[in-house]
Amino acid sequence: MNPLLAISDLSVTFATDRGHVQALDGVSLSLNAGETLAVVGESGSGKSVTALSILGLLGDSGRVSDGSIEFGGEDLTKVSDQRLREIRGNQIAFIFQEPMSSLNPVLTIGTQVAEPIWLHHKKPWSEAFEQAGELLQRVAIPDAVKRLEDYPHQFSGGMRQRAMIAMALACQPKLIIADEPTTALDVTVQAQILSLLKNLTKEANSSLILITHDLGVVARYADNVAVMYGGRVVETASARELYKNPQHPYTEGLMASIPKLDGDPGSRLYTIEGQPPDLSNLPSGCSFHPRCPYAQDKCTMTKPTLSEVAPNHLRACFGYER
């Protein structure tokens, strides 16, 4: 079976005041239909840029300098803007972190949920609006039909994110990309929103890319995980395998540094020394080497590429002695 989405060797650069910054450096990922892939990493790891480049939303300063993004037989890095507009919101939908800034404050919720249906499925407005009501019901907004006339400011944070999910589902997309969808929400609401998203994508057999920094969220909702660091994918595996058997020193450190609810309270937490790297000034070789307890001379000179350590478990590391 061909994957739904296959990113190969993707490199993205941004033109900034301080020269070119390479935000992604040879990123490869693939995603099957119906699968949930979590992309995890810290600020500046390139997880959001990966998502934005799928939709061609890099803006004026960003440019795909190398690689391809295969989706449904097309290379999204090569298609026209016109074609991308047909795909966006239709076959690929996006849910952003901050629902308040991604909803238009002067349009009603109903208008915004109905718009993609009207635009992409060429339905008459009345029919699209009716479908918007059904969608709001599916995302469990009470009094859905009545609330179509509300403006975003009349919705709470959790309800706005539900409305965003309704918009994302409107055209039955094959792929939904959610970039930190619950970071701005409280934990009890986060659990509601993520379960809803997971259940609805499963029902529709859509795929989900979940971008997050929260390893708990990954454990609860993801099938597969890609760990990013310094603009590269450093490890990919199924969620179970990754947590049980992390193979990259960065992943291992990350797992060890979070306090567990069944851990030993008051003990010293494991720390990864140093800071996440600055993309405009990446360390040579493996960009994790200055923080890596196992770094050897080779790591400071050559970039490791992804290679298989177990079936479907890849890591970019020269191997280290534990």
Partner: protein
């Protein structure tokens, strides 16, 4: 009040006015903190947890008298500070310092780091002569793991984790007894959070500090706290020592909150039955009648709508819930 307590808060009430129109006529008020009582023992870490709008930060700010207190009593280090004037509070704040959530917003971008850390010394007239002042700054920087030569740099040259170290050094400048930490790690990257949590625990041990810790991340709270109080809509619903609260949570809200936090373990998560709490936090403008949690509670009974529960204790936990009369 016993000598072992550094802080005691009794029946704290903090209300915010609701105003209307051009003249800002007051038309009502919001009870942001509504009858909160707790005490903190010397040398321990006491955490207030809850979701946004539960009043945890307001409670902390009113301990510093940075919010005006409508009712109740605040006793700090044996002294009733409830009605202290701003001038009297200056002396008290030497002994109570704060570390904020956002290490970007809480450092003046135009001041050098050394000057930021030394500012409390200058403000409180404790700078001494030049040599003493600079020596103190150096030693503070060393204490929090910053290099001495960083004193001449500006905040923007530092990462989030280092900035939080600068904030902690500034809070330590006056040798405070109590440090209020309002979400000190939630703005930081995962790999940096552990560094700051370790630093806070080291400092507590070395300097005998007491922390009032405010956070929503329950795994960090469990790691660092001795006792924990869970707040909901301006009230403490459950308070217990750490192990009791995390191993045998009793209040339905505490249970729901713990269940909502995903564990970083897919196998554990697969076994866990998903227990979703319904609805969202009601508005403080029109809080529900009776027990304010009844609209979302899975165990709600008829009485919960009518009557606010009293606080009861069984020795291990203090609860405000009709299930535990």
């Amino acid at each position: 009040m016993s000598d072992s307590n550094i802080l005691e808060v009794r029946d704290l009430q903090v209300h915010f006015p609701v105003t209307e129109g051009l003249l800002k006529r007051q038309v009502g008020s919001i009870a942001a903190v509504n009858g909160v009582s707790f005490h903190i023992k010397r040398g321990e870490t006491f955490s207030l947890v809850g979701e946004s709008g539960c009043g945890k930060s307001t409670t902390a700010l009113s301990v510093l008298k940075m919010e005006s207190v409508l009712g109740g009593q605040i006793i700090f280090d044996g002294e009733d500070i409830t009605h202290h004037s701003p001038a009297q509070m200056r002396g008290i704040r030497r002994k109570m310092q704060m570390v904020y959530q956002d290490p970007f917003g809480s450092l003046n971008p135009r001041m050098k780091v050394g000057s930021i850390i030394g500012e409390p010394l200058r403000v409180h007239g404790m700078a001494g002569d030049k040599a003493q002042y600079h020596a103190r700054i150096k030693s503070l920087m060393k204490t929090v793991g910053l290099l001495e030569d960083m004193a001449e740099r500006y905040p923007h040259e530092f990462s989030g984790g280092q900035r939080q170290r600068i904030c902690i050094a500034r809070a330590l400048a006056l040798d405070p007894k109590l440090i209020i930490c309002d979400e000190p790690v939630s703005a930081l990257d995962v790999s940096i959070q552990a560094q700051v949590v370790n630093l806070l625990m080291d400092l507590q041990e070395r300097l005998g500090l007491t922390y009032l810790f405010i956070a929503h991340d329950l795994s960090v709270v469990r790691h660092i706290s001795n006792r924990v109080a869970v707040m909901y809509l301006g009230k403490i619903v459950e308070e217990a020592d750490r192990d009791t609260l995390f191993q045998t949570p009793k209040h339905p809200y505490t249970k729901a909150l713990l269940a909502a936090v995903p564990e970083a373990d897919p196998e554990l998560e697969a076994q866990r039955a998903e227990q979703l709490i319904i609805g969202e936090i009601p508005s403080l403008r029109s809080p529900p009648s009776g027990c304010t949690f009844h609209t979302r509670c899975v165990d709600a009974m008829p009485i919960c709508q009518q009557q606010a529960p009293d606080r009861t204790t069984d020795g291990a936990s203090t609860l405000a819930c009709h299930l535990y009369p």
